[in-house]
Symmetry: C2
Subunit: 225 residues, 2 copies
C-alpha cells in the first residue's frame, strides 16, 4: 500500500481531501499543525476527523508563528465579520507563507514515512486571495520537495495533490458527503464562540453555510447566528 | 535601506552569512529556529552573534520537529563521533526537510518585514550530504517564495542568497574574520558537553577545527578533546 501524507486542519476541505486519499487507496498519514492559531479547537476537530476516517497515524507539529505575526489568525488583529460578498483582496486572515511552512513540514513527514504523495485541501475559490493556493505554487513546491530531500536526491519525485483545487464549496460538500465525511466533526470558523459552535458571520462560516445550501446537502453545523 | 532576513543558527556559517548581509548594506533581521534540536545552546550563541553584529531585530520561532523525528539532532539516535574523513552519505544528523522548513519560515518573516532578500549560510562542502543545501534547491525555493506570497503575487521577486555556498570551511573562516565575526561566540558542535564547549569529536567539530588550521586563523574555540 502506498503512503500519502495529508494536511488535516480540521476544516471541511482537509477532511474531504483526506477522505479522497483514503478512497484513492493510499495509506494516509495525517499532519496537523498547531501554529498558534486562534482557533486551536480545530486541532480537536482534526483528531475527530482522523478517527472517523480510520487514519491511525495522526501527528501534530507545533510551530509558533506568533514571533513572525502579520495575520489576524495569529496576531492581535480582529477577524472581520459580516463582510459583503467575497473579497478579491488578500484577507487579513492570510498567514504569511502558511502553506509554504505547512507543505515544508509535510515534506519532512513524507521523508520519514516513505511517502511520495502530499495531499492538501487547497481550493482556489475559497482562498481566492491566498497566493499559496495557486496551482503554479503547488507545482513549484513539488520541485522544492524533490530537490530538497534525501529521496529526491536519490531520484524520487513527489506529487502534491490538491483534489479540491478547482471545486466550488458546494462541490466540496458534495464530494465529501459522497466519500462519507462526517461534516459535523469539522470546524471552519475562524473565531468560534464555543467549541464546535460556528460564529456564522466570518468569511469561513459564510462560505460553509452557502456551500451546504447550494449543494442541497443537510448542514449539520451549529451556527451561533 | 533594504531589509534582508537572515537565518541565524549560532554556528560559524550563519554568523558569517549575517556579517556578509550587513557588509553588503542590508538592514538585517535575524531568524533563529528552535526546532527541538539537542544543541539548543546554539540559540544562545545566535543571540550573542546578533548582538555582536548589531542586529537589533532577532526573532526565535519554535517548531517542534520531534513529532516528525528521523534525525539524530531531534530523535533518540546517537550523534556519530570520531568518523574517519568526510562522509559522502547523507549523515544521520540530517533533519528531514530542515532547510525547506527554515526557508519557509524565513519567507513568512520576509513578507512581514518587507524583505525580498533571504540569506542562508548553506555550504556545499560542509553539507555535502544534505540535499537541501544544493544550488538548484535554493533556486527552486526562490520560485516558491515568489509564487506563495502576497508580495510575489503582486509581482515582487525574491532572492535566496547563499554567500558561502561554494567556500571551503577555511574560506568561511577567512571571510568571517575579515568581516569582523567573533567566532568565540559561535557554536558548531552537535553534542556540546557544556555550554560553549565543543566536543571536538563530532563531524561539525572536526570540520571547524580543520577550517581554522587551514585558514591560519587563531581558533578561539574551547574543545573538550
Amino acid at each position: 500500500m502506498t503512503t500519502a501524507v495529508v494536511l488535516l486542519s480540521g476544516g471541511m476541505d482537509s477532511a474531504t481531501a483526506a477522505a479522497w486519499a483514503k478512497a484513492a487507496g493510499f495509506r494516509a498519514v495525517a499532519l496537523s499543525v498547531d501554529y498558534g492559531q486562534r482557533h486551536r479547537v480545530e486541532l480537536d476537530a482534526a483528531r475527530a476527523v482522523a478517527d472517523q476516517l480510520g487514519i491511525a497515524d495522526h501527528r501534530v507539529v507545533t510551530v509558533d508563528l506568533r514571533a513572525i505575526g502579520g495575520s489576524a489568525l495569529t496576531a492581535e488583529i480582529a477577524v472581520p465579520k459580516d463582510r459583503g460578498g467575497s473579497a478579491s483582496d488578500i484577507p487579513v486572515t492570510y498567514v504569511p507563507a502558511r502553506n509554504t511552512v505547512m507543505l515544508a513540514l509535510l515534506t519532512g513527514l513524507a521523508e520519514v514515512t516513505g511517502a511520495r504523495d502530499l495531499v492538501i485541501g487547497a481550493n482556489v475559490q475559497d482562498y481566492s486571495g491566498y497566493p499559496d493556493c495557486r496551482p503554479e505554487f503547488l507545482r513549484a513546491f513539488a520541485e522544492v520537495a524533490r530537490l530538497g530531500t534525501r529521496v529526491g536526491a536519490g531520484g524520487a519525485h513527489f506529487a502534491v495533490h490538491a483534489p479540491l483545487l478547482q471545486l466550488s464549496k458546494a462541490g466540496i460538500v458534495r464530494l465529501g458527503a459522497a466519500l462519507g465525511v462526517d461534516f459535523s466533526l469539522t470546524l471552519s470558523c475562524y473565531d468560534p464562540p464555543a467549541p464546535f459552535v460556528h460564529c456564522g458571520r466570518c468569511d469561513a462560516c459564510r462560505l460553509r453555510r452557502a456551500g451546504f445550501v447550494e449543494a442541497g446537502v443537510p448542514d449539520p453545523t451549529t451556527y451561533a447566528v
